[in-house]
Amino acid sequence: MRSDPPGESVRPDPTGKTHEASGRGRAAIVALIGNPNTGKTALFNALTGYRRHVANYPGVTVDVGRGRVRGVRTPMELLDLPGTYSLAAVSPDEMLVTNVTCGRVAGERRPDCILAIVDASNLPRNLYLISQLLELGLPIVIALNMVDIARSRGITVDCERLSQRLGITVIPVVATRKKTIPPLVEALERAVAGTPPPVLPDLPPKLVEESAALHDALEEGMQPAETLRVLLDRDGYAEQQFLERGGSPARVAEARGRLEQAGIDGPAAEVRARYKWINRILEGIISRPETPVRTWSDRMDRILTHKLGGAVLLLVVLYVVFESIFRWAGPLMETIDRAFAWLGAAATTLLPEGVLQSLVVDGIIGGIGGILVFLPQIVILFAFIAVLEDCGYMARAAYMVDRLMRSIGLSGRAFIPLLSSFACTIPAIMGTRVIADRRERFVTILIAPFMSCAARLPVYVLLISAFVPASAYLGGWVELQALVMLAMYLVGVVVAVPAAWLLKSTVFAGPSSGFFLELPSYKWPRLGAVWQRMYFGGRKFVINAGTVIFAVNLVVWALGYFPRSAATRVAVQQQAQALSWDEQRVEAELAGAYLRDSFLGRMGRAIEPAIEPLGWDWRIGVGVIASFPAREVVVATLGTIFNLGAEQGEGSVSLRTALKQAKRPGTNQPLFTLPVALSIMVFFALCAQCSATLVLIGKETGSWLWPLASFASMTTIAYLAALGVATAARAVGQWLW
């Protein structure tokens, strides 16, 4: 990158190889590269028929789409790389593009051909990246996309002449119209077998000379495009690579000195030269109307980003999104719950009682159901985010909130990842790779877990419906239960704000990298793109988090099941005889006794002194301990603890009743009072109980310090907050009554 040391999560191949060897299969690799907002994904889908596989590079946690191009004789694999404005990368996303095109990603050979996608209504800026791609020495085809939108703005591009001047094929396409695709596919086939581009941008000759000299000095260790960056980007990534490959710093310094004497004082000279070349190439190619055409997009924009109206509308949009999630996700989650409860009941009748039955019903079926039940909330939120992003509104939202986010040290670009965290932190943290500023990205990653994810919702639903009175105010418009729910979501946000500010003022202090955001025209969101985003967000949750949750559930099951000593059974039976319990009562008491003596139960009793000030007893302690690796297991664990079996969902009336009736051991006082319920919810809101997230934080920050610090600090904050809430609620309760 320009001025940053290498991003930890984008390590190039440490052996320094350029991967040219044809390892994987016989298909030619075509890299799809272009600016953001050029319809890249639509073109990818059009060429591969929506068949997208995820490429996982070691050390890179973003997914790069791969797919076979349809309708070609030579097998071709298309790589959907992140959008970038320049090969002089400023964010990890952009760095990936640079690394892939220079063959620096382990396990991926250098592309054989480049398919560059360009926005027809935005040609000059788009050509900047093209000017850099030409220098890579790879065959290249340009897809001039969105010619229909250009036409609606009165802009036409002379493709023939542009093609002649650049010396490469330029095909006008509309990615969403199938008829325009075959000529592009034909051009690709010719290019893959073809030659590198004949025309190069006019960079200052001295610059080209010095860059070539550096390239030769390294004996092909780096691409010429990279040695160019070595010269221009001081202390940048390329320079570090050069030094690592045995290049001498003296040589670089001397070369820079000579360039300065020739009037080339840095990257600015390169940028100017490129734009001069672009203007020369584009002369007479684009015809624009005298006065810019105001499209419906422009008119809508004036309304949507109006100073006051725009802000209000953003709040309304956010409200609608969250309200819809609760409305739609609720019934869906209940259906999944019931389906798995049915499965569990069926297995209970089919299997003989014992370890196997418990393992299958509570461990396996309960585990899988416990993962899938979260999909509706996650998928619905991602669908909303995908729609807002695809239609162009998200960019406006980021633009409007930037100033607010700046007060805590972040930028508008953190808005989408933080919003996504309300569904699941895993894809959200992966989405921070678009944030250029390393310090900002780290802070965003560290406060993302404070946003109440889908897994916390069942705890809120269960405890609120059981212990918060269903009163309504203002003639039924404001429900107390809904208010408390909102408060729980806000708890995370309220704590995240000072946390971010603190981090950005101390550990991550430093100047901001700036905030530039292109504001694309509005367009109708495409169903395919929305669906893909929903699918991949949900998939990341199920695979990354789901595997952990499943394993945790099994471990929790085992710890709560074993040991089942005969001594416990005998003791309970003796009590049963003495007090003449009926069979149901004996079953319940036996289950409770087993749990109390299990490993999990012992852990709960061990921490009882610590949680007593919060009003919790060992059973709540067990629930909390069990949730540390994955908070998704808490409701099922509570079901087991209160003797109902793990198939209880948060909507279960019997679980609610059981909680309401639970008494403190040895007394007749209810265990769950409102202060206790509130303190439990606040604890869950703030505690880092997701090992999948902690692992991802470690990968993305490149250090195990951060997940550890995150876990320790969030647990401490959660404990103190729960303590505060419990004490305050009790004090208020006493004062009121």
Partner: protein, 74 residues
């Protein structure tokens, strides 16, 4: 004048970008380069960032960044 304090809707031409640094470079790469035509189109609800029409597209940038760009009215 600086782009940061330029009036709304007037057609402006960029005369220079100050300082070196990664921010200035990215501004130039995005098209804010000597001779480019730019127009301030609006500002966010809190006054910052601002929104400009740069050639054929719209870009939002902070006042601090816009303060690096010298423009003249046409």
């Amino acid at each position: 004048m600086l782009l940061a304090s330029a009036p709304l809707s007037e057609m402006l031409r960029v005369t220079g970008v100050r300082a070196g640094g990664a921010i200035a470079c990215r501004l130039m790469e995005m098209g804010l380069i000597e001779g480019a035509l730019v127009q301030v189109v609006g500002r966010a609800p809190l006054g910052d960032p601002m929104r400009v029409r740069l050639g054929d597209y719209e870009l939002s940038l902070r006042n601090a960044e816009a303060g690096l760009v010298d423009v003249t009215a046409i």
